[in-house]
Structures are given as C-alpha cells and as structure tokens.
Symmetry: C2
Subunit: 168 residues, 2 copies
Amino acid sequence: MDKKQEPLASLRERLTRYMEERAMRKTPERYEILRAAGLANGIFTIDGLMKIMQEDGTFQVSRATVFNTMELFCDAGLIIKHPLATAAHYELRTDSAPKAYSICRQCNTITRVSTSTAKLALQNLHIRYFNIEDKLLYIHGLCRKCQAKNRQEARKKQNTIKQDNNRK
Amino acid sequence: MDKKQEPLASLRERLTRYMEERAMRKTPERYEILRAAGLANGIFTIDGLMKIMQEDGTFQVSRATVFNTMELFCDAGLIIKHPLATAAHYELRTDSAPKAYSICRQCNTITRVSTSTAKLALQNLHIRYFNIEDKLLYIHGLCRKCQAKNRQEARKKQNTIKQDNNRK
DNA sequence: GTCAGTGCAAACTTTTTGCAACTAC
DNA sequence: GTAGTTGCAAAAAGTTTGCACTGAC
C-alpha cells in the first residue's frame, strides 16, 4: 500500500465519525474532495483543488461545494486553513504538532519548514482559558528567489544611473 | 509626554526616512493614517481605522488610500498585517521580536498574547536562504467566551432531549 | 418520502485599479 | 510646472448565499 495513503485513510475515518456523530450525510462529494486534497500533496488553494479534480477527472464538484466542504473539514479538524493575503491556502492536518511556514512578502509563496527546535519550545506552550487546537508559526520575509531578483534589479538600476552620468 | 506616543514618534521618523530614500511624497494623508493607527491602540481593521479617523474628525481619507497606505506601511516595516479569514487586521510594528496571537475559530477574535518562553526559542530560529523579517505565532482554538457559550448550548440541547423522553 | 446537501448563479465583502483632480516637491 | 498621490467609482477576486433539484438516509 502506498505509504502516503495512510494518513488519508485515517482522515477519511475521522470524517466519517464526525459526520455520523452529527447525523450529516456522507455524500460522495465530501469523500472525493478529501481524496483530491490528498492528491494535492502539501499546501493547496481552492483553485488548485478544483484543477486537480478536473484533471483527475472521475468526479466533478462545484466551486461552492468545495468552499463549503473546506469549512466542514476545518471544523472537523481535518485540514488547516491559511488565510493568506492572496487567497486562502489549505493543507491536510494529520496531527496537532506545532507547524512552521515561511511566507515571502514579495511573491506570497508559502512553504512548510521543519523546525524541530521551535517545535519543542512550542509544544508545551499554553494560554489560560484558551483551548488550543493548533499552533502555526508564520515566518515572514524574503525568499531566496526574490532576494536574487531584487539584487539583480538594483544592479540594473545602478548601471542606468552610471550611463546617465556618462552621458552628461 | 505621553508614554504611548514614543514608539509612534519613532515610526513616524522611520516613515519619513523610508519615503525620502525612495523620493516618495510625504503627504499629510500618510502621516495622518499612521497617527490614527497609533490611536487604535492594538490590533485594528481598515474599517476600524476609518471609524477612528471619522470620530477623531480633523482629517478625511478615502478607503482606497487607507488600503494603499497600509501596503506602504507594510513594505516599510511599520505595521504587521494579519490576513485573517474575515478581514485583514493590522497593528503597529515597534520591534522585530517574535509575537504570538490567539485566534478563536468560532468568533474569529485575535488577541496578542505574551509568551516569553516561546519568544526565547523563536528568537534564534533561522531558515537557510530566507531573509526573516517577522515571526508570528498564531494559536488557533476556542476562546473562553466561546467555550462557555458552547457548554451552555450543549446543556440546553440535553434538556430538550430529556423533555422529549419525558413526553413519551 | 424527506430533508440535508449540491449546483448554479447571483450577491456580497474585501481589496485593487483607472482616471481626473490635486498638491508636495 | 510636473509627476507622484489622492479620491471616487468601478472592477476584480474570493467567498457566501438563495433556491430549485437531487440523492442519502
């Protein structure tokens, strides 16, 4: 069995249990969307998920249903929602361990980063009267690509100024 | 001098420097919006900021300009943007120390929390090739109020079921 | 058979953009 | 005077909602 499918199977069970407890209908759409989220393999957007389902092909679900279902999955604790400036990003939530992400303020790319050091510190962090479900650390800044891009543009600009000076 | 005004004065200077370096216009609107952000005293939204400026009265700025200016302030590193599910929240950025927030998944309230323990662990956290500007820890879960509210509703529901059973 | 859930389109909210008018330089 | 900014309104993008239809129970 594909190793990646294991957490997905667990999530599927949790979804079933969640819906049964609340007497909700176990529609094929809901399971299909969860499956597609598994195929996404990491962080994804609604658009991305729609594309995956279209390419995968076997099943068509409307955009509105995907939105509604994502909210259900969030409430059920099956996915994590990252409400970024551009569009909400999601990812499967296989455990409740603290997670860290880098977000580039220029290209808005979000990337999961592994920070075992920070994780340990955050693990036993509590807040009085607040029932913690998730700890998400967002590290904002400039990614490698954008740093390089900016350096190059600064160089170009510098050259233009030099040319201007030579012309005088 | 009002103690609270000190960081604001520093931010004003940084704004001036930022704009001068880029030959941007030091318009009264920009300084006025920064002042209003100081009056907000914590985390605020665009709507909240507009209201503050209306009540404060001396100056009127259009919504679009506030949005544009907030982006400028972000780029200048004067404010932190929290792109939440409901609407973006902002706050003045007086230093680059790691910050933590609790966000209730039910009422969407965001609150700054002091976590000296986590701060220390996050302080010396680095990512290869990534130029870190801010570290924001979001702690998702249920706030005290919503927990109480949910408990109360569960109790009410339980009573209804009991009544149903008695009727039979 | 019933009603929760879906699909579609339309509404809604937040944010961005185009353009004329303005004003800081 | 000129070009960067503002204000307004209109557009865009993302998300939510209303309603008729469908299918899970």
